[in-house]
């Protein structure tokens, strides 16, 4: 899908939040959007998801099955968690007994099965957010947009969402996300969108430049300072004492040399990214 010279503002006299933005999104691409508060990240996410349309320009070839998770999900809906997911499952195109079955499965997977029959208004903030995540995953989306969806989730649910995103990407789903945690989904090769001043710049591992994923153990200080190395796009710590970083293939030699120059560091694995 692509964004074709889109522009957005919130009123005739307001400044442009996004201006003349053209972007491409490939199938199965994971994209991380970053930028300051009020810089237009959320607006861009909602435009990509199809929740709204731009004032100028157009979003073309959006996949048919789309899902969006807002940062804060409202409790002011008069449904139980299960009923809401059934409704949304049907809106996502499921039929018959399928919505109810998948709603139950999804709540179980996120560790909220006990709250299936609880009205949304009585749920805790975290459980409400699980319902928001569940509604997005229930219909096997081809495009998944996550606006700080991890915020408010407990540790297990975060890991579940990480795994679910990896699964979806594996199956060719395009995923666009924003998260405050810089190590979020760092194990997966991702494209970076920097949003600010009305424009979006793309950097990191574009589809044209191959990546190398390097796994390192034994480094004192963990991931500290690695993100500053030239060519490194993502840095994460998937488990204690293990650092995984994604580097542009053109710079991978320098990155490896820099890592090996530290005497206690072991290179556990070097593999080709996507």
């Amino acid at each position: 899908m692509r964004l074709d010279r889109i522009a957005v503002r919130y009123g005739r006299r307001e400044p442009w939040v996004l201006r003349d933005v053209s972007l491409e999104l490939d199938q199965g691409q994971l994209v991380r959007a970053a930028g300051g508060n009020g810089g237009g990240k959320s607006t861009l996410l909602r435009l990509v998801a199809g929740a709204c349309e731009p004032d100028r320009g157009a979003v073309r070839e959006r996949p048919a099955r789309r899902a969006y998770v807002p940062e804060r999900f409202p409790a002011a809906l008069p449904f139980t968690a299960h009923d809401y997911l059934c409704h949304l499952g049907r809106v996502h195109g499921l039929h018959g007994a399928e919505p109810a079955r998948r709603a139950t499965a999804m709540l179980e997977r996120l560790g909220a099965a006990a709250f299936a029959g609880t009205p949304l208004a009585e749920l805790s903030k975290g459980t409400c957010q699980k319902v928001a995540v569940a509604q997005a995953l229930v219909g096997d989306p081809e495009l998944l947009v996550l606006d700080e969806a991890w915020t408010g989730l407990d540790q297990d649910a975060r890991a579940t969402l990480d795994a679910a995103v990896a699964e979806r990407v594996e199956q060719g789903c395009t995923v666009l996300f924003v998260d405050h945690d810089p190590t979020r989904l760092a194990g997966l090769p991702a494209l970076h969108w920097q949003v600010g001043d009305g424009s979006v710049t793309t950097d990191g591992s574009g589809p044209g430049s191959p990546n190398v994923v390097i796994t390192v153990t034994g480094r004192p200080g963990g991931a500290k300072g690695l993100a500053e190395l030239v060519g490194v796009s993502t840095v994460g710590e998937p488990s204690p004492d293990t650092v995984r970083l994604t580097a542009d293939a053109r710079h991978s030699d320098e990155v490896l040399r820099a890592l090996l120059a530290e005497p206690v560091v072991h290179i556990a694995r070097v593999e080709a990214g996507r």
Binding site: S42, E71, P74, A132
Partner: protein
């Protein structure tokens, strides 16, 4: 589309937000009963009260969903279809109110005095036409007086009230014309002009509201 209508209908009925406009309309209908009215007058009253009644109901349906929840559904189904479904629910529920109120008015009324055998069928036809006009104009007005076109609740409610009064008293208004036709004692032709104008009005306003739904980007939270 049926799944969206089902969702919007469940959202409205379970939230009980439909109660205030429905009660308001019921009070207006009951307040109009003072015994011994003629069929045409009662049905005309019902048609007139549908303008603010269906208007408020439509506004309630269109504002019933929190912004973040609306964004989730809009991403899945497209904001225009979501808005269209909400309008459909408003029209359907308004039609139910109109039918119940029309039947109530009919049972509470009597034929004109003098015993002239006026065609009750013609009176019922003109009354029903007036009720349809009142319903359509009310829904069109309510759709215009809701976000995204009018965003502030106070402005929206005041506009709805003022426009209802104008539409009831202005001689050029289709509601006014349809009520006059329904109440006139003599034989009349079918009120084509008000009915067609009301249909056009609801189609144009509905189209504008559905189209603008895609451009409506409210702050989430």
């Amino acid at each position: 589309m049926s799944d969206l209508i089902r969702y919007q209908l469940a959202l409205l009925l379970r939230s009980q937000r439909w109660l205030p406009p429905a009660l308001f309309f019921a009070v207006l209908i009951v307040a109009g009963v003072f015994g011994g009215q003629q069929y045409g007058d009662s049905l005309g009253w019902c048609a007139g009260m549908l303008v603010p009644g269906a208007g408020w109901l439509t506004r309630t349906v269109l504002t019933g969903e929190p912004a973040a929840a609306r964004a989730c559904v809009s991403a899945a189904a497209g904001p225009r279809r979501v808005q269209g479904a909400a309008l459909g629910v408003a029209l359907g529920l308004g039609a139910v109110l109109a039918a119940v109120a029309g039947a109530f008015e009919w049972t509470m009324s009597s034929p004109p005095p003098g015993g002239a055998p006026v065609a009750l069928a013609a009176t019922a036809r003109d009354g029903a036409a007036a009720i349809v006009v009142g319903l359509l104009v009310g829904v069109a007005l309510g759709a215009l007086c809701a976000p995204p076109l009018v965003r502030r609740p106070a402005t929206s409610v005041l506009t709805l009230a003022a426009a209802s009064v104008v539409l009831l008293v202005a001689p050029w208004s289709p509601v006014n014309a349809a009520i006059r036709d329904a109440a006139s004692p003599g034989p009349t032709a079918f009120p084509w002009w008000p009915v067609l104008t009301a249909l056009l009005l609801v189609a144009v306003c509905g189209g504008v509201v559905v189209r603008s739904a895609a451009r409506y980007r409210q702050a989430l939270g």
